[in-house]
């Protein structure tokens, strides 16, 4: 069973601070972590591999420094890391990102299952999984909270829906996106850390992937950001004063509308 796990480097959101003057996000860009949702995808893939054998590949599109995070993933059970990194990938929206990732998947070759996180916490789009699946011509199941059974030919799982749950079965290859409920990610093991130092790591440029650069990065992105701004709140918060009972009564008034 060969599994590809898509992982994204995101700013470690603890570091996010607002500039009091410009009201913009201050990020030093150096502190980054694996997108939390992707760590669940990785753990799930490693657990499947431990049962069925095979290989887990972590795939990312990002800046060269992402290698550190892919090696971290290899210390937690992934067998190899593949990084797509090129100036031509910069400025990608979800469509251009999923195109690049689809080339990475083809480069990796044989696979049975692709796992993405539900969403990346920096963009919150949750679009890459379904878009990547469609670009590869694969079916997808989003928001998987439990895998009931899996082998080389099919996967059965529980998907969390807006109104409850669906139990679904899909022939492989396919793509799933996973929720936090699915497992408890492990910490790196000592042998894992040793392995990760020399583990197979491959980095590919747009050229090496024979990418059509009209479909990558800024050029391949149908959406563009017009502007960003800080959301306005109705000025200063109004203080609710008085005794505790008066305060409680005022809150209940607001609640009743």
């Amino acid at each position: 069973m060969n599994i590809i796990v898509c992982v994204k480097q995101v700013p470690s959101t603890n570091e996010v601070r607002l500039d009091p003057e410009t009201h913009t996000i201050i990020r030093d860009g150096r502190q980054s972590v694996i997108n939390p949702f992707d760590t669940y995808g990785l753990e799930e893939a490693v657990q499947i591999k431990e049962r069925l054998g095979g290989r887990v590949t972590v795939l990312s599109m990002g800046i060269p420094a992402t290698e550190r995070l892919l090696r971290d993933a290899m210390s937690r059970g992934a067998d190899q890391g593949v990084l797509l990194t090129d100036k031509a990938f910069a400025g990608a929206d979800t469509l251009a990102t999923s195109y690049a990732l689809s080339l990475g998947v083809k480069q990796i070759g044989e696979y049975d299952l692709i796992i993405c996180g539900k969403m990346a916490v920096d963009g919150d789009t949750a679009q890459i999984g379904p878009e990547l699946a469609e670009t590869l011509g694969l079916p997808h199941i989003a928001d998987v909270k439990k895998i009931l059974s899996v082998d080389e030919t099919s996967l059965t799982c529980i998907k969390l829906t807006d109104n409850g749950e669906q139990e679904l079965q899909v022939p492989l290859p396919a793509l799933i996106t996973v929720l936090k409920d699915i497992n408890m990610p492990r910490l790196p093991s000592i042998t894992g850390v040793e392995f990760s130092l020399t583990a197979p790591f491959h980095s590919f440029s747009a050229d090496q992937l024979a990418a059509d650069t009209s479909r990558t990065g800024l050029n391949g992105s149908p959406t563009q950001v017009v502007r960003t701004f800080t959301p306005e709140r109705g000025g200063e918060a109004q203080e609710i004063t008085g005794s505790l009972d008066e305060q409680a009564a005022e809150i209940l008034n607001l609640i009743k509308g």
Partner: protein
């Protein structure tokens, strides 16, 4: 030329952009920012950091958009009823269509009987409802819905196509956006037509809700967006409105790969649609006090929300977690008890209408987002509330 562009007239030489750039691609030369295009990764952080709006990411335009007309939206159903978000979208779509002097088409799909919902969507503002009524559409499954939508949308060529940002909408819309190779903006809270260009400006919270980003799709069609439920106002229905109802059959030669074995509908699993939320943070103190908050929520018919540390310590279940890695909520009233207001938590409450915050720390960041505040002990306030309901 595509890339990062600096308006040298607007640049005041403050250097904030150079300080913010994670790629060290910006330098100050003679008090004007200069970009090393080879080093720039187009992350956009400098664009946000510039107080003068002197930096932009631009790209050459392409594509042919003139053949696409009309505002369309997908009306999601559950168990044969169109969801509230379908009506919210219809009201918003009406407004957008009027601004563009074009018509509003609603795509309604579901199992046998779904056509019965069409008239209500017309009453909410639709000019035309295209109905896909088929047993294969009775349950929300992406492949079947994509097959039907692909057929009607490819033929009808709308300029705008909206989806509700429900779990299903956020899984279905990107599948179609990739098939049609067009842009899709997730989880929008504001939609407007830009007067000059006639393009759809889609605004969404980014970076945990402390920053809003306005996004557009200049040269691909349709312009697609998913819209957060509960954010657009629910319309007043006008039963006298008349419109067209057209049946569009499901493509019978289509068979999906994903197979539904079982579906369980569980009511009130999510607090996303709650109108009233009593939310607790670490300041609540202990699990016993959380139980008091739960009691208050039950008495008021409210949902219980919480911050992440409470889930981590097992005081609350994950389904109550509000924020970036939890649930995004849009209640009329959000009562925050002992919550500091970390950016990851605020990310989930950008859609809240009124925030009432109780915190013992007068400097707590939550107060900057709240409309009403009490500086004090949240347990005292909670007990006083319980005494009065």
């Amino acid at each position: 030329m595509s890339g990062l562009v600096i308006d040298k007239q607007k640049c005041i030489g403050c250097g904030l952009c150079a300080g913010a750039c994670p790629a060290s691609a910006l330098t100050m030369v003679d008090d004007v920012a200069q970009v090393d295009q080879a080093a720039c990764v187009l992350c956009g952080i400098c664009v946000d950091s510039c107080p003068e709006g002197a930096i932009a990411i631009v790209k050459e335009s392409q594509g042919n958009t003139a053949d696409y007309h009309g505002v369309w939206l997908f009306a999601e159903q559950n168990q044969g009823r169109a969801l509230p978000v379908a009506f919210e979208l219809t009201a918003k779509g009406r407004q957008l269509a009027d601004e563009l002097s074009t018509s509003l088409t609603v795509l309604l799909a579901g199992g046998p009987g779904i056509a019965g919902e069409a008239q209500a969507l017309i009453a909410a503002g639709a000019d035309r409802v295209l109905v896909g009524e088929d047993p294969k559409l009775a349950v929300n499954l992406e492949e079947n819905y994509a097959a039907w939508l692909d057929q009607v949308v490819t033929e009808g060529k709308p300029e705008i196509l909206l989806f509700g940002a429900t779990g299903f909408g956020r899984s279905l819309a990107p599948k179609l956006a990739a098939r049609w190779q067009t842009g899709l903006t997730a989880d929008c809270t504001v939609l407007e037509i830009d007067k000059q260009s006639g393009l759809l400006y889609q605004t969404r919270p980014a970076f945990g809700g402390n920053l809003m980003a306005t996004i557009y799709t200049p040269s691909h069609r349709p312009q697609m967006a998913t819209v957060r439920p509960g954010v657009m106002p629910y319309p007043v229905l006008d039963e006298t409105r008349r419109g067209e109802i057209l049946a569009c059959p499901f493509p019978q030669d289509f068979s999906p790969l994903v197979r539904l074995l079982q579906e369980r509908q569980i009511q009130a699993e999510t607090i996303a649609d709650a109108e009233l939320i009593i939310a607790v943070g670490r300041g609540i103190g202990n699990a016993k006090n959380v139980a008091l908050a739960r009691q208050l929520a039950e008495k008021l018919g409210a949902a219980l929300g919480c911050t992440r540390p409470l889930v981590d310590t097992g005081w609350c279940e994950y389904k109550h977690q509000v924020g970036q890695t939890g649930c995004a909520v849009a209640p009329r009233i959000y009562l925050a008890l002992g919550i500091s207001g970390a950016i990851q938590h605020l990310a989930g409450i950008a859609g809240a209408q009124t925030i009432i915050a109780v915190n013992s720390d007068p400097e707590a960041p939550i107060f900057a987002q709240a409309q009403y505040k009490i500086v004090g002990d949240c347990l005292d306030v909670l007990k006083a509330l319980l005494a009065q309901v």
